[in-house]
C-alpha cells in the first residue's frame, strides 16, 4: 500500500470511529426525545401523530417518586456540605501522619460497588431495628443517610481541588490584621472556596438524584425514588410516558450541569 492510500485509509477509519462513538453516546438520547412525543400508547413506527400530552402526565404517574428523589437529594446535599466542606478544609490545611490514608478513606465510598454498599446499609439498618426498635429500613431517614455517604466524597474532592491554588498567606494576613480563627474561616477561607462549594453542591445533587443501586435496597412501597420507579416501570412496558420522564430528567440534570460548568472545569474534577 502506498503512503497516500494508507493515509487515506487511516483517516477514513478515524472518521468512522468518531461517528460510531457519537452514535453510541447520543443515539439513545435522541431516540428517547423522539419517542416522548409519539401520539401512541406504545412503540409503533412510524407513529400516527405527535403530541406533548405525555409530559402532562408525568406528575400524575411519577410525581411521588420525583418528590421523594428531590427531598432526598436536597437534604443529602445540605448534610454532605455541612460535613464535607470542613473535611476538605481539614485535609488541605493540616499535615499529620496518616493524612493520605484518611483522604483515601474519606473518598473510598466512590470506589466500592454501589450495589454492595446498598445491601450492607440495609442489612445494618435491619440489625439495628431488631435490637433497638428504631424504624430505619424503608424510612426516608435511612435513604438520606445513605445518600450522604455517596455525595460527601464528591464534596470533599471538589473542596480539596478548590483549595489547591488557595494562598495560605491570605489567611495569615487576615490573622495578622486581627481576625480570630473563626473570622479567618468565615471571611477568607470560605469565600475563596465559594466556586468549589457551589460546584460540590450541584455535583452532589446530580449524584444523589440519579443514583439507582443504593435505592434498590432502601426504597419501600410508597417511598420510591425516580430512577427506581423508572426501572420498575421499564421492566414491564416501554411507552412514550416513560420516555417523557427520561427527557424531563435529562433536562433537570442538564440544567444543573450547565450551572456547574460555570463554576469548575468538569474535566479537572472527575
Amino acid at each position: 500500500m502506498t503512503e497516500r492510500a494508507a493515509d487515506w485509509a487511516g483517516r477514513a477509519t478515524n472518521r468512522l470511529l468518531l461517528l460510531l462513538a457519537c452514535l453510541a453516546i447520543f443515539l439513545p438520547l435522541v431516540l428517547t426525545l423522539y419517542l416522548s412525543v409519539f401520539n401512541e400508547q406504545m412503540i409503533v413506527f412510524p407513529p400516527h401523530g405527535y403530541t406533548l400530552a405525555w409530559y402532562g402526565q408525568i406528575v400524575g404517574k411519577f410525581g411521588g417518586a420525583i418528590w421523594t428523589s428531590l427531598r432526598i437529594a436536597l437534604t443529602a446535599v445540605a448534610l454532605s456540605l455541612f460535613i464535607g466542606v470542613p473535611a476538605g478544609i481539614g485535609l488541605s490545611r493540616y499535615r499529620f501522619t496518616g493524612r493520605d490514608a484518611l483522604g483515601t478513606f474519606l473518598l473510598s465510598p466512590l470506589t466500592i460497588p454501589g450495589i454492595a454498599i446498598g445491601l450492607a446499609i440495609y442489612v445494618l439498618a435491619v440489625w439495628i431495628e431488631e435490637r433497638t426498635g428504631i424504624e430505619l429500613a424503608g424510612s426516608i431517614r435511612l435513604l438520606i443517610m445513605a445518600h450522604v455517604l455517596i455525595t460527601m466524597p464528591w464534596v470533599v474532592r471538589l473542596c480539596l481541588a478548590s483549595l489547591t491554588n488557595h494562598e495560605r498567606t491570605t489567611e495569615e494576613a487576615a490573622a495578622s490584621l486581627g481576625a480570630n480563627p473563626l473570622m479567618v474561616l468565615l471571611r477568607v477561607t470560605l469565600p475563596a472556596m465559594r466556586p468549589g462549594i457551589v460546584a460540590a453542591a450541584l455535583f452532589a445533587f446530580i449524584v444523589s438524584f440519579e443514583n439507582l443501586e443504593l435505592n434498590l435496597f432502601l426504597v419501600a412501597p410508597g417511598l420510591t425514588t425516580l430512577p427506581v420507579a423508572v426501572l420498575q416501570y421499564l421492566q414491564y412496558h416501554i411507552d412514550p410516558l416513560v420516555a417523557a420522564v427520561a427527557v424531563a430528567q435529562m433536562v433537570v440534570v442538564g440544567a444543573a450541569l450547565l450551572l456547574l460548568d460555570r463554576f469548575v472545569r468538569l474535566g479537572q474534577v472527575l
Partner: protein, 278 residues
C-alpha cells in the same frame, strides 16, 4: 501541629464513612459466613459455604464469566471508539471546545436507567431497528434481550466516562511534542503512535480498568436490555437478596464483587507505571 482543630474538621466526615460504610460492610462480612435456611432465612454460623458455593457451582461460574466477558468486550469497544474522540477533543482549538466537552459529559450524569430507554426503543420488537429492517429487507431483527444489546447498552453508558478520562490524559501530554515530531518529519499518524501513544499508555490503562469495573458492576443495563434470563453479577446479587431472601449468599456475592474490583484497582496502580515526566 495541634490535633484538636483537625479533629473538629475531619471528625464528622470520618464518622459518616465509619458508621455508614465500615460498620455495614463489617456486618455484611459476618453475614456472608452465615447459613441460609428456607424457613429460618438465616442461621448463625461461621462457614465459608457461601463462597465455596459460588466457586463450585457451574451456574455461578457462568454468571461470572458472562460478567467478565461483557465488561471486557465493552472496555475494548470503549477504547476503540473513545480514543479518536478523546484525542480530537483534547487537541481541538475550536472555541466550542468547552461546549463539546459539556455535551459529552452530560450523558454521564443522566443515569444508566434513563439512558437505557433509548436503546430499548431501538431494539424493541417493532422498535426503530426492527421497523427499518422490515421496511428495507423484509426481515425482523430482534436484538432485545440479547447479549449484544447488553454490550451496546453498557458501551453507551461507559463511553462518555472513557472519553472524559482519555481526554484528560491526552490533555496532559504537551502538544508541542507532536509538533516536534512532525517538524522532524513524522506524519501526524506516526507522530501519534510513536510519541503520544507510549506516553498515554499508563493513563489509557487506568481508564480501561475503570471502564472494566464499571462494566462488571452494571445493574440497570443488563436487567433492562438482557431480560430476566440474562445474568450478570450485580443483578444476580439483587435477585438472591430480593427474590430468594438469601442474605448470606448475596452478602458473599457482594464481597466477591468488591474483592474483584479492589484487586483490579490495586493491580492497576501497581502494574501501571507512573507517567513519564519531561
Amino acid at each position: 501541629m495541634k490535633p484538636s482543630p483537625a479533629i473538629a474538621f475531619l471528625g464528622p466526615a470520618t464518622c459518616v464513612v465509619a458508621l455508614l460504610l465500615v460498620a455495614p460492610l463489617g456486618l455484611l462480612a459476618r453475614y456472608s459466613l452465615n447459613k441460609y435456611d428456607p424457613t429460618e432465612l438465616m442461621i448463625e454460623a461461621a462457614t465459608p459455604a457461601n463462597y465455596l458455593r459460588f466457586f463450585t457451582e457451574a451456574f455461578y461460574w457462568d454468571v461470572m464469566r458472562t460478567t467478565i466477558v461483557v465488561a471486557l468486550l465493552v472496555t475494548c469497544l470503549c477504547l476503540l471508539l473513545g480514543l479518536p474522540l478523546a484525542y480530537r477533543l483534547a487537541r481541538t482549538t475550536s472555541r466550542w471546545k468547552s461546549a463539546m466537552m459539556l455535551v459529552v459529559v452530560l450523558p454521564l450524569f443522566i443515569g444508566s436507567t434513563v439512558r437505557t430507554v433509548g436503546w430499548m426503543i431501538l431494539f424493541a420488537q417493532r422498535g426503530v431497528l426492527d421497523s427499518l429492517s422490515v421496511w428495507l429487507f423484509g426481515l425482523h431483527i430482534d436484538l432485545m434481550y440479547t447479549p449484544s444489546a447488553v454490550v451496546i447498552g453498557t458501551l453507551s453508558v461507559n463511553l462518555p466516562f472513557m472519553v472524559l478520562t482519555l481526554q484528560s490524559v491526552f490533555e496532559g501530554i504537551d502538544s508541542r511534542l507532536e509538533e516536534a515530531a512532525q517538524g522532524l518529519g513524522a506524519a501526524p499518524g506516526r507522530a501519534f503512535w510513536k510519541i503520544v501513544w507510549p506516553l498515554a499508555l499508563p493513563g489509557v490503562g487506568i481508564a480501561a480498568v475503570l471502564s472494566f469495573i464499571l462494566g462488571m458492576n452494571a445493574y440497570a443495563t443488563p436487567v433492562l436490555l438482557g431480560g430476566p434470563r440474562f445474568q450478570m453479577m450485580a443483578p444476580l446479587l439483587f435477585w438472591e437478596f430480593n427474590t430468594n431472601n438469601n442474605w448470606p449468599f448475596s452478602a458473599a456475592l457482594g464481597f466477591i464483587l468488591m474483592a474483584t474490583t479492589l484487586l483490579l484497582t490495586t493491580l492497576a496502580n501497581v502494574l501501571i507505571p507512573r507517567r513519564y515526566r519531561a
